[in-house]
Subunit: 282 residues, 6 copies
Amino acid sequence: MSPVDIEAIVARALDEDLGGGGDITTAAVVDPQRQGRAVLVARQDLVVSGLDLAAEVFAQVDEELNFEALVSDGEPVTTGAALAEVSGSLASILVAERCCINFVQHMSGIASLVRLFTLRLEGSSVRLVDTRKTRPGLRAIEKYAVTCGGGNNHRFGLADGVMIKDNHILAARSITEAVNRAIEGAHHLVKVQVEVENLDQAFEAVDAGATVLLLDNFAVPDLRATVLALRARPEILTLEASGGINLDTVAEVASTGVDVISSGALIHQARWVDIALDVDPS
Amino acid sequence: MSPVDIEAIVARALDEDLGGGGDITTAAVVDPQRQGRAVLVARQDLVVSGLDLAAEVFAQVDEELNFEALVSDGEPVTTGAALAEVSGSLASILVAERCCINFVQHMSGIASLVRLFTLRLEGSSVRLVDTRKTRPGLRAIEKYAVTCGGGNNHRFGLADGVMIKDNHILAARSITEAVNRAIEGAHHLVKVQVEVENLDQAFEAVDAGATVLLLDNFAVPDLRATVLALRARPEILTLEASGGINLDTVAEVASTGVDVISSGALIHQARWVDIALDVDPS
Amino acid sequence: MSPVDIEAIVARALDEDLGGGGDITTAAVVDPQRQGRAVLVARQDLVVSGLDLAAEVFAQVDEELNFEALVSDGEPVTTGAALAEVSGSLASILVAERCCINFVQHMSGIASLVRLFTLRLEGSSVRLVDTRKTRPGLRAIEKYAVTCGGGNNHRFGLADGVMIKDNHILAARSITEAVNRAIEGAHHLVKVQVEVENLDQAFEAVDAGATVLLLDNFAVPDLRATVLALRARPEILTLEASGGINLDTVAEVASTGVDVISSGALIHQARWVDIALDVDPS
Amino acid sequence: MSPVDIEAIVARALDEDLGGGGDITTAAVVDPQRQGRAVLVARQDLVVSGLDLAAEVFAQVDEELNFEALVSDGEPVTTGAALAEVSGSLASILVAERCCINFVQHMSGIASLVRLFTLRLEGSSVRLVDTRKTRPGLRAIEKYAVTCGGGNNHRFGLADGVMIKDNHILAARSITEAVNRAIEGAHHLVKVQVEVENLDQAFEAVDAGATVLLLDNFAVPDLRATVLALRARPEILTLEASGGINLDTVAEVASTGVDVISSGALIHQARWVDIALDVDPS
Amino acid sequence: MSPVDIEAIVARALDEDLGGGGDITTAAVVDPQRQGRAVLVARQDLVVSGLDLAAEVFAQVDEELNFEALVSDGEPVTTGAALAEVSGSLASILVAERCCINFVQHMSGIASLVRLFTLRLEGSSVRLVDTRKTRPGLRAIEKYAVTCGGGNNHRFGLADGVMIKDNHILAARSITEAVNRAIEGAHHLVKVQVEVENLDQAFEAVDAGATVLLLDNFAVPDLRATVLALRARPEILTLEASGGINLDTVAEVASTGVDVISSGALIHQARWVDIALDVDPS
Amino acid sequence: MSPVDIEAIVARALDEDLGGGGDITTAAVVDPQRQGRAVLVARQDLVVSGLDLAAEVFAQVDEELNFEALVSDGEPVTTGAALAEVSGSLASILVAERCCINFVQHMSGIASLVRLFTLRLEGSSVRLVDTRKTRPGLRAIEKYAVTCGGGNNHRFGLADGVMIKDNHILAARSITEAVNRAIEGAHHLVKVQVEVENLDQAFEAVDAGATVLLLDNFAVPDLRATVLALRARPEILTLEASGGINLDTVAEVASTGVDVISSGALIHQARWVDIALDVDPS
């Protein structure tokens, strides 16, 4: 997450909550001179993510506020843990409260779900990655949250990796043609990945020059056999499994010998975790 | 959702996915002259939401594409239902695909969860509403999705309603003082709502002039008794229950006689539903 | 006014004045090393508004400038009063001068006009409010200026209050139907206001559930009678008078017993007051 | 006014009015299928300005609306005149109404005031111009409105003309030095103007090479004498009078033989004229 | 180049040229009703690039203009060739003229220089690519222009390829450590490239897992020997030469057997070619 | 260059380079705690321009970095000269490196070329200026770079000077008519310039009131004769020569007695100079 991105995403979130007349409750009810202190507290076990966003929310609302993170992004904490504290104008803290928590709840929700997966993969060298199935406009923070949970990121967008899917193959009329065009057309720092449904397709892709294969929706026994057959090839291949992988199946999929397991569910099936801001007017 | 908002949110989503070098796979693999047709298909039972966003995604990628919605937002559909179709440049369709589906999966996921709640409330006049616990930058589309599921919206942001919470009360030192300040400070088209924990607080709030009460985290019997006691007051009050309400409890909470049930979970516990774009190169 | 809004509105104003080649006069004529000091001075009696904007203008032009407000927004001052002072690079002060004064003259003009009205209302509990008749893009600062003059704000925009006007009634075919739809459609923290022309309409609106009435363009005797009749209703109503109210009539209108007097003229009939920046090169 | 500017200024105005939840009244009350027609009507004698902005407001709210201007910007019209009409979705018309009228009332208010001045100058060849005393962010439309009233524009901003004022002279230590630096520093398509207080200063400025003089706050007899003395110079000079010129004095000032009369009051003392949108649901 | 990018870059360019008061010459001199037709003409032999930008410039200035490209981007043309024509409002054409030509001259200048290089490489399979040495904010259009000249693109930015340079190696303390970290940290669709100065470094990089080598500033005989030695490795390597390659040396460098030749000079040493807009008022 | 402009142009450049996933190489390879120091070094003789942009790049990437300019913009330096140094987080320095250098190489390239021209004009009072032939979106920094090389700027854009070219004359049907309209239509601080091809046109323009003439593409003897003839006129004229002027001809053109020589080539024929960032991890 670049500083510029963080600034923009927080500005949008604040504009959304404060647009028009601002926080009319706090403006009416809270004495502007009043000081206070607040602690961001975990209300359940969770993995923390988003403290930089929280800091930026408070800074944009009132640059005089003092914000201090008490844990680091990526740390697993238990119920009751204090994640950060902020002090200064009480009104400013209350104005920023919901916007701040929304970021941390959302991101920690993802990090916490990802951690459930990575715990299942302990001892395995497989790389667990997300996909481009992310909420519009929030990809940077959602992918960052995946890393807080111990996962890795797949390509960020359409520009930083070639992935030839079924529709591209249809458009090019064959895997071979699609891979050839991709190698010709893409720059030489990106690999060419092909989504395949069976071993024949996999071999065609590799023969054409693809070095990463997406083995999509394979049953585990088929996946195991396919990995075995592909490892017998001389080329150094990266094998990625995807498709409906869940907490129950992820370890077994990893045992097939694939290098990478990708799952959009890491992000789009995550739910918010419970976090609150305990405010203490002084 | 205003047209201006839709345009901006889609532009950001596309920029996120195409930023830098664009869709390098499609650019390399798909003949720019090739035409195609694609259908957005439900892969599970769901309530549709987000077709205007889908249309805008395709329009921004290529204004020559023809997009037609086949169902309406808010319609429940079953597995296999065709939601929309688009035709034109195959490359443009593929470039837009993921971004389009991300909107519809996310919004339909919310609409579908909300519908599960509203089905439990059939026959009841209670109003089910969301909260400000929304993903940063996506509030407009998430709140719209709630209405597609049959729910209603709470205030949009901090400007369009006064809600006095515990921290505001602490800051003002009493419910009475907080309500007085709010009535004095806010404009005369917004009501003053107070979050209360018990009947004493509720009476204090009403005596001070509040007309909406948020009964937060009441056990159902307490809630029922409190509602009864408050309905005996001469003032016309709007009573809102919130706090950990779920599919199992929502009907019982509604039976207590509250006017409104609010739940952040309608949005932040929703998961994406399964939707795909079936592409057919011509 | 949120910090984010202030920053954006000042950036636009500076861009407008400096766009293209910047301040070519100062760049050519003033030695960049030269220091100076300037005082913002009232050239007539006025009520001050806009000093935060003035501060932001100088900060954006040159973050090294030292700006200090000498009075507070909302203070009435007399001719010759020093409102603020700024010191630092003389060139920077001259670049910022006009843009700074434009904000303060405009906002103080509104505050000063509003104060003329509020002085006429001394001893009355009526609330004097503005409308949505504001200059495009400047609503936040114009509404803020109204409060500096002792007035209050009506709703900020179309989102934070329901106001059913004649055209809405025409569209819904009756006041009753319009109010019913509004109560059903709007969220439960906004009140429903109806613009009415006579007592019959007022009663229909109240019967349907409206709690705020806009009594538009009533002659004072009619207004007084209507207020009397409506106060006899059991409902707690907010009665707002509007329509051609001026300095001569405002006290009489207030005497009719309405709760609120609204006037677009507070903003759109205000003229700039005379303020200058006296610069003193060191 | 460039198309790009118009688009941006209207988008900001709409965002201001619709930000957050949009027009909740119209959304709740008006059937989205309902069609209608509306006429923009002058409620007093006025000079029209801003119809392009009105058109853009309607277009941005709903590109399906049909807008037609019935008069041209700059035309004087009398009470009751129809200025434009719009037809299409009734809801869209109502959403856009206030924003549209705000532009036209504001701009026509300026045009109408300017026309009062230009009528006093009939038969004179003097050029009546505005200044940079404009509302922040609205300069383009305010200066355009001046031309609709028959006035002319002074420089747009700090980049398109050199004007050496008293503070610049103080900074450069003499008029001669300031003019020399300006001629040296500015590009060769802008003239150098100097603000002078008496004939000695005027001669020093001309001797140094200035070709435009701002004769600020001269009494009329002094102004007449100064013009006479300066016209005796061999150089072709442009003489501009400014300072407290009003409707009563403008003709007399023009009679002194100056080329240009400038007045910030054309814009900042203008008040809105009365214009309404008469809506007719079909 | 995405449509969204093109729209934004053109809007900025127009704002730069028209900011403030717009085209004051055309506004004063050209009758707004006057129609005209203009042809974009090559005044030297060149390779065309940028016609989409030209089209967008005219469209943004006046959507009523009719623009037609007469050749395609990437086509080599000779002096006098008509590249595009536009017709409609003469004033609009003149307002857009310079901004339009600036795009086409700049981009065609790059395309034309690149073509000189690619002509030297005819018969060779080497890939000629650009670098990230591009003018700030113009990377998308400059890289596109390279492809018009027959070149290819290197990675777009820092996100779509790993390139370990000397400073990264210093930071990681060894090539091996840097490559290990990169493979671990980057996603699995990007290759790891290492900039090396000699064969030892090259072997260390390949042993660590790098598959792309940047052979920077090698003398041609050294380059030839290094390529030979590296081709003897079992891994499939992509070898890129860079550093001071010019028209005189590029063919010889290509003859060494490298896969890729990269050169920032393709873009930053390109000069504008001569193109004019011949206008014909009707 | 205004601070606001610099901030925006740097933000765009960084977004371009870091968009999507950011600097994935540095993120993977460089320890975030590692400190470093880097020096911006001239690799050839050059005139420096762009150090403020360099400073802003580092500040936006990481506000903790310490940047210090060691020379001033406009200074000629020799190979090996240290231009600036920066210290702090090594990773931040590497992320910012290319973006920073791109600005300084581009701008110093222009300044260095301009200096070659101004050296040829030593002893002459002629003013060497640029044109509006600038790269889209970069005009402010390119025109600034011209001044660093000892040149001057022509008008910034279409708003700050009237220049009547052949097409305007065609549109107005005569030089006289065009000049009359321009004097009437433009504000009184801009001069009217006319592009002429021969003495007859020049006389017509001056008779009509133009005071600046663009003598375009005159052969030197013709130019000399034309200047002589025009100097005999009583009006004070500014004579500008343009059209294919290069290093070999510029001194001779200056000797003809023109006041101004304009050349788009100062900017669009400039090539980047060689500058590097030498990084030293601590």
